[in-house]
C-alpha cells in the first residue's frame, strides 16, 4: 500500500448532529484527491479532524502507515500536513516573507535573519513556480497571490500533503488556470493534494480520484477518469440532478415593477445608477446580467429603500414607492434575497426561528399588543424548515451554526413564504452546490409560475441564461440592452456586459 494519509471510519459528533459518520479517505502519494460533497455534508469537518482542529469520536488516522493522534495543528504540521484555508490567515501589514516565517523565524543572534528568510522563500517559490515576491506587503498583492503565500507557508514548514479548502472560490478564471498549473508542479515535486470542493468541473479537470460524502456519510471513492459531471452530481446529491432547469414558457401579465429615469449615487457619492429604465411583469423572471460593480447593488438598494434615490421613479403595482421606508416597501409586497446573507440576510446570533420572522415579528400572529408569541414563531419556523429542507438540529439553533446552503434556504423560505408580488434575488446561489442551486432555481421559477414578478441579479451567466425569461444587461448603471435568453449566447452577453456592443431591446 502506498498511502501517505489514511483516515479510516472517522466519526465526529457535535451536539445534536453527526457531522462525519464512518468516512474513509485514503490519499495516495502523488495524487490529487478530491473531497466532494454538498454544503454542510461534512467536508470541512473531516479536514479539520485531519488538521488537528477537531478530535474524532471514532476512527483511525494513519500517516505513512503509522497510526497517529493529531491533537493540534502543530502536530499536523510536524507530520507534514499543511492546510490552505478558504479564508487566508495572513497579517496584512507584514511582508510575504514575514508571514511565511512567522513562528519559525531563522535567527541570527537575537535578530531575525531576514536575508536568509527571503532567500529561502525565493528558493521555494522558484522551485514550485509560484512567482511570489518575498518582499511585497500582503495588503498590496492580489487574492491569488495571497493564496500562493499560504501555499508557500505550508511548503516552508515542510508539508508533503496539502489540503486545499475550496481554493477556487475566491479566484478569477485566469488565477484558477494558474492554480491548476501549480497543482501539477506540486505533484511533480512529490507532494500529495486533497482538494475540497463542490465544483464538478474542477474535479474532472485536475483530480485523479474523488471521495464523495453525503450528509456526513462516506459514499464512494472512485477514479475520476471515466466519470461525468452528471454522475458525480448525482452521487453527491443522492438523486438525479438536472443542470438545465425545466420550465414552461413565461406568461407575463401586468407590470409589477416599473423603474424610470432612476439615478442613484453609491456610498462614495459617485453616480452608480444612471437614468435607468426597467420593467418587470408578473409571471416573468427578468435577469440582470453585468460585471460586478456596474450599479447592481445600488439598484437593489434603491428599490428596497435601503438607499435614497437622487431622482426618477420606482413604481410597484402602479404605486410610487421610491419615497417609502424599507418596512413599508416590504409590506407593499417586495421580497428580497440579499446578496450578502451574513451581512444583510440574517442575524447570525439569533436562533434560526427568529430569523424566519425578521420582517414580520411585529405583526399577527407572531406578536400581539407588542408581546412576542414564541409558539407561533417556532411553528412558522418549523413549517419553513420542513418546506424548504433547511437542515438544522432545531429551530432554536443559532443561524451561525448552519451551513451556507441551509442559511440561504432559510432566507429564501422566509422571503418566498411572504408571497411578495416582486421577489428580488441577488446572487441567490453564490457559493452553493449543485443540489442547492437546483432547489433555489426551482423555487424562483415556481414563484414566476404563481404569477409573481422575479428580478434576478447574478454575475454568473449560466444562471442568468438558465433561469431568466428576459435578460437586461447593465453597464455603468444603465440598462444597455434587453435580450431573449433563447436567442442569445454567452459570447454576445459577454460583449454586451463589457459595454462594447449596443443592442436595442426585444421588448
Amino acid at each position: 500500500m502506498d498511502y501517505v494519509v489514511e483516515m479510516l471510519n472517522i466519526r465526529k459528533e457535535f451536539p445534536g448532529i453527526v457531522a462525519n459518520d464512518n468516512i474513509t479517505l485514503q490519499l495516495k502519494k502523488g495524487e490529487i484527491h478530491a473531497l466532494l460533497g454538498e454544503n454542510g455534508a461534512g467536508k470541512s469537518t473531516l479536514m479539520n479532524v485531519l488538521f488537528g482542529l477537531y478530535q474524532p469520536e471514532k476512527g483511525e488516522i494513519k500517516v505513512k502507515g503509522k497510526t497517529v493522534k493529531i491533537t493540534s495543528p502543530n502536530i499536523a504540521n510536524d507530520l507534514g500536513i499543511g492546510m490552505v484555508h478558504q479564508h487566508f490567515m495572513l497579517v496584512d501589514t507584514f511582508t510575504v516573507t514575514e508571514n511565511i516565517v512567522l513562528g519559525l523565524e531563522p535567527k541570527k543572534g537575537l535578530n531575525i535573519d531576514m536575508k536568509k528568510a527571503e532567500k529561502d522563500v525565493q528558493e521555494i517559490s522558484d522551485r514550485y513556480g509560484l512567482k511570489v515576491d518575498p518582499k511585497a506587503k500582503i495588503a498590496d498583492i492580489s487574492v491569488g497571490m495571497q493564496q500562493r503565500v499560504e501555499i508557500l507557508k505550508t511548503l516552508y514548514r515542510g508539508a508533503e500533503m496539502l489540503i486545499f479548502d475550496e481554493p477556487t472560490a475566491v479566484l478569477t478564471p485566469q488565477e484558477i488556470k494558474e492554480l491548476t498549473q501549480i497543482f501539477r508542479t506540486l505533484i511533480k515535486e512529490g507532494k500529495s493534494i486533497i482538494l475540497i470542493t463542490h465544483k464538478l468541473k474542477e474535479i474532472i479537470e485536475v483530480c485523479d480520484r474523488v471521495t464523495v460524502i453525503r450528509k456526513g456519510v462516506g459514499i464512494e471513492t472512485l477514479d475520476v477518469e471515466g466519470t461525468t459531471p452528471t454522475q458525480l452530481a448525482s452521487l453527491m446529491v443522492g438523486r438525479e440532478v438536472l443542470f438545465k432547469t425545466d420550465k414552461k414558457p413565461a406568461v407575463p401579465k401586468d407590470t409589477v415593477l416599473e423603474i424610470s429615469k432612476l439615478n442613484v449615487k453609491d456610498s462614495r457619492g459617485v453616480d452608480a445608477v444612471r437614468n435607468l429604465d426597467l420593467t418587470v411583469r408578473s409571471g416573468e423572471i427578468v435577469g440582470i446580467a453585468g460585471v460586478d460593480g456596474n450599479g447592481q447593488s445600488e439598484l437593489i438598494e434603491a428599490i428596497t429603500g435601503l438607499k435614497k434615490i437622487q431622482s426618477g421613479s420606482v413604481k410597484l403595482n402602479g404605486k410610487e414607492i421610491s419615497k417609502y421606508k424599507t418596512r413599508k416597501i416590504t409590506e407593499a409586497g417586495v421580497g428580497h434575497i440579499p446578496q450578502d446573507r451574513h451581512k444583510h440576510g440574517l442575524v447570525l446570533d439569533f436562533p434560526i426561528g427568529d430569523n424566519m420572522v425578521l420582517q414580520t415579528y411585529y405583526s399577527k400572529p407572531y406578536s400581539k399588543y407588542s408581546v412576542l408569541n414564541n409558539k407561533e414563531i417556532n411553528k412558522q419556523a418549523k413549517k419553513l424548515i420542513q418546506e424548504f429542507d433547511v437542515r438544522t438540529p432545531s429551530e432554536t439553533t443559532p443561524a451561525r451554526a448552519l451551513s451556507g446552503g441551509n442559511q440561504q434556504k432559510a432566507i429564501i423560505g422566509r422571503e418566498v413564504d411572504r408571497d411578495p408580488d416582486l421577489l428580488i434575488a441577488a446572487q441567490p446561489t453564490r457559493g452553493l452546490d449543485v443540489g442547492a442551486i437546483e432547489f433555489i432555481h426551482k423555487r424562483l421559477i415556481e414563484q414566476r409560475d404563481n404569477g409573481k414578478a422575479v428580478l434576478l441579479i447574478s454575475f454568473e451567466l449560466e444562471e442568468i441564461l438558465n433561469v431568466s425569461d428576459r435578460i437586461a444587461v447593465i453597464y455603468e448603471g444603465n440598462i444597455i440592452a434587453i435580450v431573449d435568453p433563447k436567442e442569445t449566447t454567452e459570447q454576445e452577453l459577454g460583449l454586451l456586459m463589457a459595454g462594447s456592443k449596443k443592442k436595442v431591446g426585444a421588448e
Binding site: 457535535f14 451581512k343 415579528y361 411585529y362 406578536s367 412576542l372
Partner: protein, 350 residues
Amino acid sequence: MFERFSRFQKILIPLISVVLGLIVGAIIMLVSGFNPIQGYAALLKGSLGESFYIGETIRQITPYIFAGLAVAFAFRTGLFNIGVEGQLLVGWVASVWVGLAFDLPKIIHLPMAILAGALAGALWAFIPGILKARLRVHEVIVTIMMNYIALHFCNYLIRFVISDEQNTTDRVPESASLKSPFFETLTEFSTMHYGIFLALAAVIIYYIILERTTTGFELRSVGFNQNASEYAGMNVNRNIVLSMLISGAFAGLGGAMEGLGTFGYGFIHGAFSGVGFDGIAVALLGGNVALGIVFAAALFGILKQGALIMPLESGVPTELVEIVIAIIIFFVASSYIIAYLLQRLKKGAK
C-alpha cells in the same frame, strides 16, 4: 464549535469563577498570615450572620441590581454604557430634588420622585445615545466623559441649588421616602428599605422588555447586526437611542434608591460612588441575563457588606474583598480558559 458555549457552560463558568476567586482569596490570606476560615466566617457573619447585617446586605444589593441591569441592557443591544455611574448620580439628585421641592400625598409624591430619578438617568444617557445615532460618536468615550460632568454638575446642584451652600441636602420628607419602619424593626434598625421590591420588579421588566416584546426583538437584532436590521425594516438609530434611554432609566432608578431609601438625602461626592462601575462587573458575572444579574448583585452585596465587618472580627483587611472580586471578574472575563479546562477535564474523564 456549533455554539461557542453551551447553556450548561454559561452557568458553570461564573460559578467556577466565584469558587476560584474565593480560593485565591484564601491563599492570599494564608500568605499574608491570616486565617482564611476565620476571614470568610467573619465575612459571612458580617453579611448574613444577624438580621441587622442581612438588612444592610439587601440594601446594598438593591442599587447593584439596577446598575447591573443598566449595563446589561445596553450590552445586550450592542452598546457599552460605561456611564451608569453618572446616570445613577443624576438620578439620585433628581429624585431627592423632587422629594424636597413638592409637598404632596405619598401616593403621588413617592412615585413622582422615583420617576424623576429614572427620567434624569434616561436623559443623561440620551446624550451619548443621540450622538451615536446621529454622528456615530462612540458611546464609550461620551459616557465616560458624561460621568465627570454628572459628578460635578450634581455637586453644584446640591451646594448651590438644592441646599444653601451646604455639603448635604435636607432629608426628603416621609411622603417621598422609601424608608421602611417595618423592615427597620425587623432587622434591628438597619437601613433596609422598600427599594429591593422595586429592584426585583425592574428585573422582571428587564426580562419582559428584552425577551418577550417586539421592542426587545428589535433592540437585540440591532445589537447583533445593524445591516440585517435595516434590511428587515427596523429603524437602527431609533433603537440605539431607545436602548440608551432604557439603560439610563435603570441607572437613574438605582440612584433614586440611594437618594430616597438608603440615605434619604443628597450629598457632595468627593469621588464616584463606584456602584455604577460595579454594575459592569455585576452584568458580566450575571451573563447579562435577568436572573444572573440578581445572583451576581447578591454576591457583590454580600461581599461588600461582609467586608466591612471582616477587619473587626478576623483582622483581615477590607481590601481583600476587592481582591476577591477582581479575581472573580478576571476569571469570568477569561471564560475561555475555564471552558478549555472543562473540556480537558471531560476528556480526561473519558
